[in-house]
Amino acid sequence: MAVTAATAALASGPSPQRRAGLGPWFALAPMLGWLLLFVIVPTLMLIVVSFSERDSLGRVIYSFNIENYLRAFDWKWLKILGISVWYAFLTTVICLILGYPVAYFIGRSSERVRGLLIMLVMIPFWTSFLIRTYAWISILSQEGLLNALLMTLNITSAPIGFMYTPFAVVLGLVYNFLPFMILPIYTSVEKLDGSLIEAAYDLGARPARVFGQIVLPLTKPGIAAGILLVFVPAIAMFAITTLMGGGANPTIGEVIQNQFTKARNQPFGAALGVLLLAIFLFSLWLSTKFRRGEED
């Protein structure tokens, strides 16, 4: 909140001292260059390709027609998009429910323990997410570890088909994205002013009220950032959904990947990509609104 206030002050008007020379631009140059090269130029290329055609080998023929977009609004692609958004929504909700208490606990523990716990959250990043997903396959498959355990304990008599189900997909997504929910919320919790909480208790508030009126509003920026970091990449994720879901219910990420790697139809893939981008921008706008709301 302090940061947003500062930015607002900055934006309100140029003060003489703020008019720096080229220095800041030099400092910003690497980031601006990076943004230009790897965000703006590729996005523009995507938009250009999405209005183009392709030849029989899949080479892009630059032209201008909206056919790819017309095709994209067919029910089947929208249904696939709907399923992907649903998976991403479920993933986000579960990550929030599981991640918030963890982040809060880590953020409120002593500094020494905190470092250790945060490291535990980060450790999975040391291994590629693909390898970790393959590990889930050997746990969940019919001849896997979980079924072996359940059958040894006589909980089930026949193996349960966990793999290649929506359950497996959401589990894979939640597992992969949970740290992206914990870390931003943790940052907000860590910055919480403990005296505010003490004051609330001193004034006779019960824990539920302290949480609802003090803790939750103050950690809202972290929640918003976490939701964004989980929801947006989860919609477009294709590797985990293919491996865990078995490809019978393709997600929009899988469909887009197919256009580029199998169907020789980059322009259509690009059009779907642009639509996805529009959804991302919409969720970004929603999340900024959400964060603004807390200032009012």
Binding site: S56, Q142, G161, Y164, K262, A263, R264
Partner: protein
């Protein structure tokens, strides 16, 4: 002044980057090949014997290879396309003619794998490995006889089937079952097989082209329509995984090595081709990836166990009878859309 100085600096930096990028001619052999298809030991041995360094980049489908090659990213010296892609690429003049004098080991290739219709006279390509798409089933859980595709997609097998995640392949099985030539993917024929595909795909549990054997060996599926190499690995792991050449018709694929027009190290690429055609090297490939080896001299070195694997070398099967894919151009997109549509229904 200061501004000008900055501009100069920027120009100098850009210049330096460009120089670093293209100043020195790169003499590494750049191999662009399928993932899980070229044993590292073969590459190491090539470098050891010739001193030529090899860099490897992988792809997972012919279309992915085409897209990356045609986008101009990275000048590849050697690529590994399947038969129909060779056909499409030669038609567009994207491959270099081979200097056959530099590839004397081509004589080791069995006559039925030389001079195939997609590349008459092996002007542009040499075969790497061939294989089939067939049926694998777990004989412990499947007790009814399986002879063809219609047996696989029976109601009692619903939810226990893994198939290749490859729209062209899936469509070809339905075409063969309907008695239509597998390369005849006209709109009308696609419409004809749509009801059959809807019925089939509603029973499929897993789509996987990269490693369909995983779902089989993990017990998540009982039947599969998969690459013969995958079937061979499953059979070698446990003979309960039986291999069947589908009665409706068998499609054969032949993967090749070829040199794109944009290659910078043609001599080295040809040296690599000649190297892998050596019987002892070709055997190393067979040891790791048990597909059908078109190299007749290498086959003589294989063990009885390898040759008796019914998925690698189907007994009594005449490879000249198997159908090869031809390029279907833009229809590929329609085939893909048809399969995707059916999947989400």
């Amino acid at each position: 002044m200061k501004k000008q100085h900055t501009k100069l600096m920027a120009a100098a930096c850009a210049g330096a980057l460009l120089l670093a990028g293209c100043g020195k001619k790169d003499d590494t052999l750049k191999l662009f090949c399928w993932s899980e298809y070229v044993p590292q030991a073969v590459i190491d041995k090539f470098t050891e014997e010739t001193g030529i360094k090899v860099s490897v980049e992988n792809y997972a489908s012919n279309e992915e290879m085409l897209a990356k090659l045609l986008a101009g990213g990275g000048a590849y010296d050697l690529i590994q396309p399947s038969e129909y892609t060779i056909q499409a690429m030669t038609k567009e003049g994207l491959l270099q003619e081979l200097d056959q004098e530099k590839i004397p080991n081509l004589k080791n290739i069995a006559p039925e794998f030389r001079n195939l219709p997609y590349d008459p006279g092996n002007k542009y390509s040499i075969p790497w490995m061939a294989g089939f798409v067939g049926i694998v089933y777990n004989a412990e859980t499947v007790t009814t006889p399986i002879v063809g595709f219609t047996d696989v997609f029976k109601p009692e097998h619903a939810g226990r089937i893994v198939i290749l995640d490859d729209s062209r392949e899936i469509v070809s099985w339905a075409l063969a079952t309907a008695g239509i030539p597998v390369n005849d993917v006209s709109d009308q024929n696609l419409a004809t097989i749509t009801p059959m595909l809807k019925d089939w795909l509603s029973k499929v549990k897993v789509y996987d082209s990269d490693s369909p054997k995983t779902a089989m060996s993990n017990g998540d599926t009982d039947l599969g329509v998969v690459w013969s190499g995958e079937g061979a690995l499953l059979f070698a792991e446990n003979p309960k995984f039986q291999w069947v050449m589908p009665a409706e018709g068998v499609h054969m694929f032949v993967d090749n090595l070829a040199i794109p027009k944009t290659a910078q190290n043609k001599d080295k690429a040809e040296a690599f081709m000649n190297f892998i055609l050596r019987p002892d090297i070709s055997k190393m490939i067979s040891d790791e990836f048990p597909y059908y080896n078109p190299n007749a001299e290498a086959r003589k070195l294989l063990s009885a166990e390898q040759l008796n694997n019914p998925a690698s070398y189907p007994p009594g099967f005449d490879v000249t009878k198997a159908e090869l894919f031809t390029d279907i151009g833009e229809q590929a997109s329609k085939v893909d859309e048809l399969i995707t549509t059916i999947k989400v229904q």
